[in-house]
């Protein structure tokens, strides 16, 4: 069973909090804070498992986390889950986010928390893994978005509410996410742009994961490998090949870094881990 799924950024700001066991709000916040302090202390090149201890549920529970760019994805699971399996699940979840948001970055999670929840609901339900096949997940989410869209076109009067919620999210929505992003003053790291088309006057080359540099030095010849090796099951992988969601694969890998290509594990690790 998965007890909780937490997503927070490098500063401990929660971006997604999903408990599968009832905790009062204050305790939830406290757990998020403590978890944040636990994972913050850890270097990126040490193992991704943490004995949760007293945090949630006791010694049977483990924290399994991954650090993508500015975000930590933390799953709190008990001993019935396979540790490596959960690591893969986090990857599936993030890749799905990437597909649905087209090069996901922290801003997407900030402004569309509800959508992220809907995506998560197709992956994990009530603490148990519902679906691990990314194509299936994406298909279901798209179908639901179509359904939502059809409802919106019926009642145009409510359009103000839902234009910005159209899906996949329009990057050019007026007065939406976009404008704020382009404000010159950007202090918080989550404002960094990872999409090539959003590069401001001074593109910030962000390595979404510290190992990124290591990756490149290890395997310079295969920069887009991580995305494609997710699954061993042949029927599932082709759609998630490097092409569609690594738009800048051929160009300079750093400036076009989509969250996933940058944040994926170094190739030497991923190859072994994937199921």
């Amino acid at each position: 069973m998965i007890q909780a799924i937490l997503v927070f950024n490098n500063h401990g700001k929660p971006r997604l909090v999903r408990f599968y066991q009832r905790f009062p709000e204050e305790i939830q916040q406290q757990i998020v804070r403590e978890t944040f302090h636990l994972v913050l202390k850890r270097d990126d090149n040490i193992c991704n498992f943490l004995e949760g201890g007293s945090l949630i549920g006791g010694s049977d529970y483990k924290l399994i986390y991954r650090h993508y760019a500015t975000l930590y994805f933390v799953f709190c699971v008990d001993s019935s889950e396979s540790e490596l399996g959960i690591l893969d699940l986090i990857q599936v979840f993030v890749e799905t986010l990437d597909k649905c948001f087209e090069n996901v970055c922290e801003l997407d999670l900030i402004f569309h928390m509800d959508k992220v929840h809907y995506i998560l609901q197709e992956v994990v339900m009530g603490g148990m893994v519902l679906e691990t096949n990314m194509n299936e997940i994406v298909a279901q989410i798209e179908a639901q978005n179509r359904l939502e869209k059809s409802e919106i076109t019926v009642s145009l009067s409510h359009s103000r509410l839902y234009t910005s919620a159209g899906w996949p999210f329009s990057r050019t929505c007026p007065g939406g996410v976009r404008c704020e992003e382009h404000q010159p003053a950007r202090d918080a790291p989550e404002h960094q742009h990872w999409r090539s088309q959003h590069q401001g006057p001074q593109p910030v080359p962000v390595c979404l994961r510290v190992e990124d540099s290591r990756t490149e030095s290890l395997e310079p010849a295969e920069p887009s490998q991580p995305c494609s090796t997710v699954r061993s099951a042949p029927s599932r992988s082709p759609a998630s090949g490097p092409g569609p969601h690594c738009p800048g694969a051929g160009k300079s890998p750093v400036s076009t870094a989509s969250l996933l290509t940058c944040a994926a594990l170094p190739i030497s690790r991923t190859r072994r881990l994937w199921m």
């Binding site: 929660p14 997604l16 909090v17 599968y20 009832r22 709000e25 204050e26 939830q28 270097d43 090149n45 040490i46 193992c47 991704n48 498992f49 943490l50 004995e51 019935s80 396979s82 540790e83 490596l84 399996g85 690591l87 893969d88 402004f111 569309h112 928390m113 509800d114 929840h117 809907y118 609901q121 339900m125 009530g126 148990m128 893994v129 519902l130 679906e131 691990t132 096949n133 299936e136 179908a143 639901q144 359904l147 939502e148 409802e151 919106i152 009067s157 409510h158 103000r160 509410l161 910005s164 919620a165 939406g176 704020e180 061993s232 099951a233 030497s268 690790r269 072994r272 881990l273 199921m275």
Partner: protein, 1151 residues
């Protein structure tokens, strides 16, 4: 109006949506809380509007605020409104909010039941999906009960998307409503072979989760899972199944043997590390469960260890971590295979990753005498280097653990160990001071030879106490002073300079220590004082003795002023004592002897579980009453346990009152004598421990003379390193010596190391311990029981799911289906079941009957196969499988009977077992068939009774086409299927193979119930055997007594009193003589046969109550005289009462 609408939509244009809210919060970094409270006010306004879109928007924002830690439960009702929106867009928002904030304590949650049911059956799969997802997060026991059936239907939905969600949510339903597990399980099992991989994976998921908690119930699924394991290619499913097998193998070793081969194949073939790792894990579990026997184990172990080594050597920290984790599992059973990789483990201790270091520490348990010092030395250097306190604390516990494991088996030099402990006290900020203290105490008490050394170290520690207890952060470590003070006091005879230690213990600084430590200080100061007095008086140095006394008198008042009660009390007590001694000393009276008499006696360590292990002597029933309890029924409430206080054993204050040696020896001898004379006393075979016990006194503990090859005192503060060096030298010397006198060696070994003689490994044998020390084993009571049972936690929520799933389903085990309830029936679940059952039997429709027949056939076959398994919940129809005369004592009697029995059982009548009773009366019998029957009324149908007829085939023939017909009277009529005439019979809905019995139920309509009556009837049937078939008939007379119209109804004494006071009841009485039966049984008999319940019982007098199906109240007062019983009855109908009493008289006459 139109204007208002336009205005409304314009307003809405300016409503914030989620994005606006987020942006707003980010723009108000300084006054975020204020901004949010503003937003919440706006949201409250929005929620008041009628427009569902506005509400949904508001709820969506609330969900965001919930994530930030704001309580949104106040909006629960609005969330439900949004959930019930017709549009998917809104519904989804509502369910998301609900899943984030609803829980069992949310009171409006019960309002959602119908909405959820509607959504579950919605034609749109996404409505259903959203409802399922939401429900999975906030399902309550009530929701689970009400919706279980709907969800179960969804498990066979055409869309795999719904199926997999429905399957997954079933686990939550089971947790909340365990009764649903058995009815739903067959379908769940089917889903294991669902064509859709997602559904299959979900089913595996659920079953694995269930099986993890109660593995034994799922053993029967092993073959199915085995098949899945060998056929599936989905790694997720494989991992789950393999993990499940890991849980199952400890219960079924044969399974393990089968598993090894496919698992080994997987290990060789798979490229997925996650799968490989789980395979290795399960192989380890299998090997542990097999533990011994199979010779080809070593190959598997080798394979595992080899694969794990690859993982550990990997540069990926995750794999390294998991490899170490799995390695520690192997360690438990196959330490040798792990020890071969010691280099790897030690290397991991230097890893930069703390998690990995911790895991590596776990593996250090596999130490031996040979390498203990080396490993501890390494750990000590880590202790010095470690930055984080957690890791350092972990190291500290590990050091202590490996040193103290299996009774200090690996320690060859205790001086070294003590000095390690002393070194550990210099750690800053550790929380484990008490652990070190406990070790010091334990070693000092149990290793007699070390006491002198320990005392010298402890006195040094006390001397430098200011270092240990200087700053408040070090409070954890000052616990060691507790041990130090105690050891110096208790073993003061070994002190070199007691006076100096005494002064150290009386320093003013001591008063800053925690209370419990000061208390020990105070107490041990006196011990020291006693020792010093003795010493001085022997030396006839009276002035020195008086000086010491004076010191105490001067210093003790500082403790008297202590705020700690314990310290204060002890100090003032002792101060007075010392003052008294001072007076005596002034008169030149020798006092040393008397003062030291305060602390005379030797200390023996007692095992912590010793008290628990004292076996209860045969014939002693601890639950039996010593004196008869007061017969007063009120005394029931009192708990007799309260008379005795459970006394906790205290280990921390080891000084126990001790009878003097002779007395002890005398008692022991007497007890042995007694046991020898007692033929019922089973003597346990003497264990080595016990042999020691038999030794009459403490001085007989074979303490071996110390043969010290190491100088006892190491100059300066002891450094464990020096010991390591010395030890090396010593070993080297020993080796040389041994070469010289090889022959003598064996003899010496035997003499020297009694405690671990059996545990020697080859390599260990080379090392003789530096000190021949005797570790005093902890004292255990004679005949201690070896068992060490640990009770399961009764509050475990998963225990409710410990349900036997192999048992065939009974009819009554159905998920509750939504139905209209009439107000009367909804009182209690028991009552709810009754009309349901009866309805079925009353209006048997043809279809249903056929179906039932089939079921019965099936069940019968199963019954024949395993009659013993039917123990739990059964339907009425299954009753005949039980010996009929035991109906009363079991739980599955029809509810009415159960209620009849309950008041008695719950009352004060538990002294005697009840005789077996049956309400089934013989109806008719011939060579083919035997009929017994029972009549039951029900309060819900005021003019109907149900006659249950048990038909038993007594012949070799097959009985079929049974039909029961009754000649109706004016008053009573058999309820026949619609459309049939009054002369038609009612078919019996089953057939009877030879030797089988079954029960059929017939409903009769009764006009008047005040009179008993008889109905003539016939059972016709076809008996078929090898020779052919014949038509047979059996006539009978059905007797409806007045009793059969009564329904056991519990009644409270106040209601009962009101009823009697009302005066509407007519009265009548009977008296029966010559009754020998006890009153208790008598009441039980009346309750059972006449369907009364006891309202109150006082001595030999009881009031009872029952009610007829037409609502007559019947009250009885039963009094028992010497040899007679009188029954006074009151009833709203005089005829009914007199008839009832007549019937009762007959029953009583047989008593």
């Amino acid at each position: 109006m139109a204007l208002k609408m336009v205005k409304g939509s314009i307003d809405r244009m300016f409503d914030k949506n989620l994005q606006d809210l987020v942006r707003g919060i980010r723009n108000h970094k300084e006054d975020e809380a204020k901004y949010i409270s503003q937003c919440i006010d706006e949201i409250k306004q929005e929620l008041k509007q009628d427009n569902i879109a506005v509400k949904a928007n508001a709820v969506c924002k609330l969900t965001y605020l919930q994530m930030l830690g704001y309580d949104i439960s106040w909006a629960a009702f609005n969330i439900i409104e949004v959930m019930s929106a017709s549009k998917f867009t809104f519904k989804r928002i509502g369910y998301l909010a609900a899943s984030q904030c609803f829980h069992e304590g949310t009171d409006v949650i019960m309002l959602t039941t119908n909405q959820i049911r509607k959504d579950l059956s919605s034609p749109s799969q996404y409505d259903t999906g959203v409802a399922l997802t939401g429900l999975s997060c906030f399902v309550t026991p009530d929701l689970a009960r009400d919706l279980a059936n709907d969800i179960m239907t969804l498990m066979s939905h055409t869309k795999p998307y719904i199926r997999k969600k429905a399957v997954l949510i079933m686990y939550k339903v089971f947790l909340k409503y365990p009764e649903s597990l058995r009815p739903a399980f067959p379908r769940l099992k089917e889903k294991l072979e669902d064509p859709d991989p997602g559904v299959q994976s979900a089913a595996v998921n659920v079953i694995c989760e269930l099986a993890r908690r109660n593995p034994k119930n799922y053993l029967s699924l092993a073959p199915l899972f085995f098949k899945l394991m060998t056929s599936s290619t989905n790694n997720w499913v494989l991992i789950k199944i393999i993990k499940l097998f890991g849980a199952l193998t400890p219960l079924e070793p044969r399974l393990g043997k089968k598993l090894i081969e496919p698992l080994t194949n997987l290990i060789h073939s798979t490229s997925a590390m996650s799968l490989l790792y789980e395979c290795v894990n399960t192989v380890i579990a299998v090997l542990i469960s097999l533990s011994s026997g199979m010779p080809n184990h070593s190959a598997s172990i080798q394979l595992c260890v080899q694969k794990l080594r690859i993982l550990i050597e990997d540069s990926d920290q995750n794999l390294k971590y998991l490899g170490l984790l799995a390695m520690s599992k192997i360690l438990r059973t196959h330490p040798k295979s792990v020890q071969a990789h010691k280099d790897l483990v030690l290397q991991c201790l230097d890893d930069k990753d703390e998690s990995i270091r911790l895991r590596a520490l776990d593996l250090l348990y596999g130490v031996s005498k040979k390498n203990l010092m080396e490993i501890v030395k390494k750990l000590m250097t880590h202790v010095d280097k470690a930055e984080g306190t957690t890791y350092r604390d972990e190291l500290l516990t590990k050091i202590i653990d490996i040193c103290s494991q299996s009774n200090y088996q690996h320690i060859t030099n205790f001086e070294w160990y003590i000095s390690i402990l002393v070194e550990l006290t210099r750690l800053e900020g550790t929380r484990h001071g008490h652990l070190i203290a406990a070790q010091m105490l334990d070693v000092a008490i149990r290793v007699k030879a070390i006491r002198r050394f320990a005392v010298s170290q402890m006195s040094a520690l006390l001397d430098s106490a200011h270092l240990v207890a200087s700053s408040p952060q070090r409070s954890g470590i000052c616990e060691v002073l507790y041990a130090a003070a105690w050891i110096c006091g208790e073993f003061s005879e070994h002190l070199q300079e007691p006076q100096q230690t005494l002064e150290a213990m009386l320093r003013p600084k001591v008063t800053t220590l925690p209370g419990h430590i000061q208390a020990v200080y105070v107490q041990n100061v006196v011990k020291l004082y006693a020792a010093i007095l003795q010493q001085k008086e022997q030396a006839a140095d009276t002035s020195a003795a008086q000086e010491v006394t004076q010191l105490l008198v001067e210093r003790l008042p500082q403790f008297v002023q202590s705020a700690d009660l314990e310290v204060q009390e002890r100090a003032s007590c002792i101060l007075q004592l010392v003052k008294h001694v001072q007076k005596l000393q002034a008169k030149d009276v020798p006092v040393a002897e008397e003062v030291s008499a305060l602390f005379a006696g030797e200390l023996n360590p007692v095992a912590p579980k010793a008290q628990k292990k004292v076996p209860v002597p045969e014939g002693l029933d601890l639950d039996a009453w010593i004196n008869e309890p007061l017969s007063d029924s009120e005394s029931e409430d009192e708990k007799p346990k309260a008379m005795f206080q459970d006394e906790e054993q205290r280990h921390t204050k080891p000084r126990a009152p001790e009878a003097d040696e002779q007395e002890l020896a005398r008692r022991r001898e007497a007890r042995r004598q007694e046991q020898a004379n007692n033929p019922f006393y089973i003597k346990s075979s003497p264990s080595p421990q016990k042999r020691y016990q038999d030794a009459p006194g403490v001085e007989h503990i074979p303490v071996v003379q110390i043969d010290l090859s190491v100088p006892l005192k190491v100059p300066g503060m002891p450094l464990s390193d020096q010991y390591v060096k010395l030890e090396e030298e010593r070993r080297h010397r020993q080796r040389l010596e041994k070469d010289k006198r090889k022959k003598k060696k064996r003899e010496r070994e035997r003499r020297g190391t009694r405690r671990h003689s059996s545990l020697h490994t080859e390599s260990d044998e080379d090392i003789a311990p530096a000190q021949r020390v005797d570790i005093v084993t902890e004292e255990m009571p004679e005949n201690a029981l070896p068992s060490d049972e640990d009770d399961k936690d009764p509050n475990d929520p998963y225990r409710a799911l410990d349900i036997d799933l192999d048992k065939p389903l009974a009819d009554s085990e159905k998920l509750p289906v939504q139905k209209h309830r009439n107000a009367e029936t909804s009182k209690s679940p028991e009552k709810e079941d009754v009309p349901l059952v009866e309805k079925k039997s009353k209006k048997p429709k043809k279809k249903e009957k056929k179906h039932k027949e089939k079921e019965r056939e099936k069940k019968k076959k199963e019954v024949e196969k395993k009659p013993s398994k039917h123990k739990k919940k059964k339907h009425k129809k299954d009753k005949e499988e039980r010996p009929k005369d035991k109906r009363k004592s079991k739980k599955k009697v029809p509810p009415a009977d159960e209620e009849a029995a309950e008041p008695v059982e719950n009352g004060t009548l538990e002294e005697e077992p009840l005789p077996p009773m049956s309400s089934y009366i013989l109806l008719a019998e011939n060579s083919y068939i035997k009929m017994t029957y029972d009549v039951q009324g029900s309060l819900q149908k005021d003019s109907q009774v149900t006659v249950s007829v048990v038909l038993e085939n007594q012949s070799d023939s097959f009985l079929k086409s049974m039909e029961l017909n009754v000649l109706d009277s004016l008053n009573a009529r058999l309820a026949r299927p619609e459309g049939s005439s009054v002369h038609d019979g009612v078919p019996v809905p089953f057939q009877l193979p030879p030797g089988i019995s079954n029960e059929a139920q017939f409903v009769f309509t009764i006009q008047s119930i005040v009179m008993a009556q008889k109905l003539k009837g016939t059972l016709s049937f076809i008996a078929k055997n090898d020779e052919g078939s014949t038509h047979e008939k059996l006539d009978f007379k059905l007797h409806f007594t007045c009793t059969s119209y009564l329904v056991t109804t519990p009644c409270y004494s106040d209601a009962f009193a009101k009823l009697l006071e009302s005066g509407d009841l007519s009265m009548s009485s009977i008296k029966v003589d010559g009754i020998s039966m006890s009153f208790h049984n008598l009441l039980a008999k009346i309750c059972f046969h006449h369907r009364f319940s006891v309202v109150e019982r006082v001595d030999s007098c009881a009031s009872m109550y029952s009610r007829s199906i037409q609502g007559h109240h019947v009250c009885l007062l039963v009094k028992k005289g010497e040899k007679s019983v009188s029954v006074d009855g009151k009833c709203s109908d005089p005829t009914l009462l007199s008839n009832l009493l007549e019937e009762m008289k007959e029953t009583l006459a047989t008593c």
